[in-house]
Amino acid sequence: VRGRAKIDDDLLDDIEELLIESDLGVSVATEVIENLKKKVAEGRVTSPDAVMGLLKEELLALVGEEGESIRAAAGGTTVIMVVGVNGTGKTTTVGKLAALLRASGNRVMVAAADTFRAAAIEQLEVWARRAGAEFISQQQGSDPAAVVYDAAAAARSRKVDYLLIDTAGRLHTKSNLMEELKKIRRVVGRELEGAPHEVLLVVDATTGQNGVAQASRFKDAVDVTGLVLTKLDGTAKGGIAISIRKELGIPVRFIGVGEAVEDLREFNPRLFIDALFS
């Protein structure tokens, strides 16, 4: 779309294609294009470069202009619950986040509340060790809420700054699994003041329109406060994050850009929007 001579239907069609191919979805893309057309008709933009500038501002407004940082507890332990459908990168994100928080001197504890999937506890244990975080787990197959209860008690007595809860992947369409998640949230809420302070939904950047349904269901169940958009080091643009923010008001807090411990970044809206056009 760069280096165009005039604003015409071709330019707008190309922009629509770019937005849809970035997984913004048809209705959001259509809305954005309609707003651009209106401004062009009103004579507010007269060059293709100006259209691109306006487009970026529009997208920035949708995804949230300011990155906000993690909400911390007023005193005591800040609890961050990490949720999402299967395979999106929750366990890896918990490990990276633990390391990030440790780097600024925090005492961090990680709770292995995925007691279901094969070797999930072992996987998280490796990450906890890498991050220098304390690790709370129970046996495979135990009640995740029991792990969280234990972790909350340990966090309180050891005066831990951050408690990160890794939960099992689950499809938002499975009501019994969503009930399990609600129970985990209730238990930690009873045991630690104000918990959970953040509920991060981990969404794979390759996810298509189903991402909105995921975010909506998880938000209804456990009141998601932020998104982690993972695997942005691939070729997917992660435009679904724009739709999620637009439809549900959930902001992106972090992005995952690789499989190593340092591959987690605070969300920068401007860089994200620029990357849609690279």
């Binding site: 997984d23 979805g25 395979g87 996987q123 244990e125 490796v126 298509g208 070729t235």
Partner: protein, 292 residues
């Protein structure tokens, strides 16, 4: 069923005996939206709509269907045709062992699919051997071993300090000496743009000459599905696709995108986290699901 907007358009055209080009365009506009909302790739949709338009103009009433309903019937059967027939068999080699390699992006469901396939092959009377060739992800080897214990299927592993190429070779020799007739190699998730890791897959392929290279892809993948499928197919030659997490409510347009850009059959559908949750892929059901 079909989207509200599409039904509305069909209702509006219900009394017409024959459709004009303009009528057909109105219907196809809504079909286009339905396919894009289902995550079918933008360019795949464009080609598809163009091919349908040629077939649809001039449709007349046929039996009890209105011309509009006829168009939808054409769309549905064309989608089904593009999905391919039912091809849910692992190509068993004339001389054992049959070697199957599972590849794909991170988190797609390869390790789980490896175990599900092994379990199904065992039920069919085969003696499978699973191979833990993911030496990168923490506890990946352990994950496959736990699944192997659950299914009572052996897992070949050389630990996380060995090269996946050597692990694959070692597994094939072990299979031959122990009479295991299907070797299923679980590889690490990787990006199609990771040169080093894609070269690793090519090296494994060169070392053991797999009979099947299955691309494992997540049913909720959006527009990026074409990029991934194209790259894996061009570098390795994919013989089949396993589409996972179809037990969710993703429309699964990635199935059409992958099929259309690689020509490979989608052989299996992952429909749950349990090890028996693997079904043959049903093209017609998928077409209905995509259309919404």
């Amino acid at each position: 069923g079909l989207s509200e907007k599409l039904q509305e358009v069909l209702r509006k055209l219900r009394s017409k005996g024959k459709l004009t080009e303009k009528d057909v365009d109105e219907i196809l506009r809504e079909v286009r939206v339905a396919l894009l909302e289902a995550d079918v790739n933008f360019r795949v949709v464009r080609e598809f709509i163009q091919s349908i338009r040629e077939k649809a103009v001039g449709q007349e009433v046929l039996g009890s269907l209105t011309p509009g309903q006829q168009v939808i019937k054409i769309v549905h059967s064309e989608l089904t045709r593009l999905m391919g027939g039912v091809q849910s068999k692992i190509a068993i080699a004339s001389r054992p062992p049959t070697i199957v390699m599972l590849v794909g992006l991170q988190g797609a469901g390869k390790t789980t699919a490896c175990a599900k396939l092994a379990g199904s092959l065992k039920k069919q009377g085969h003696s499978p051997l699973m191979v833990a060739a993911d030496v990168y992800r923490p506890a990946a080897i352990r994950q496959l071993e736990v699944l192997g214990e659950t299914l009572d299927i052996p897992v070949f592993s050389m630990g996380a300090d060995q090269n996946p190429v050597d692990i694959a070779k070692g597994a094939v020799s072990s299979a031959m000496s122990k009479g295991r007739d299907v070797v299923l190699i679980d590889t690490a998730g990787r990006l199609h743009i990771d040169e080093e890791l894609m070269a690793e897959l090519e090296a494994i392929k060169a070392a053991v000459s797999p009979h099947e290279i299955l691309l494992v892809a997540d049913a909720m993948t959006g527009q990026d599905a074409v990029n991934v499928a194209k790259a894996f197919n061009e570098r390795l030659g994919i013989t089949g696709v396993v589409l996972t997490k179809l037990d969710g409510d993703a429309r699964g347009g990635a199935a059409l995108s992958i099929r259309s850009v690689t020509g490979c059959p989608v052989k299996f559908a992952g429909v749950g986290e349990k090890l028996d949750a693997l079904e043959p892929f049903h093209p017609e059901r998928m077409a209905s699901r995509i259309l919404g």
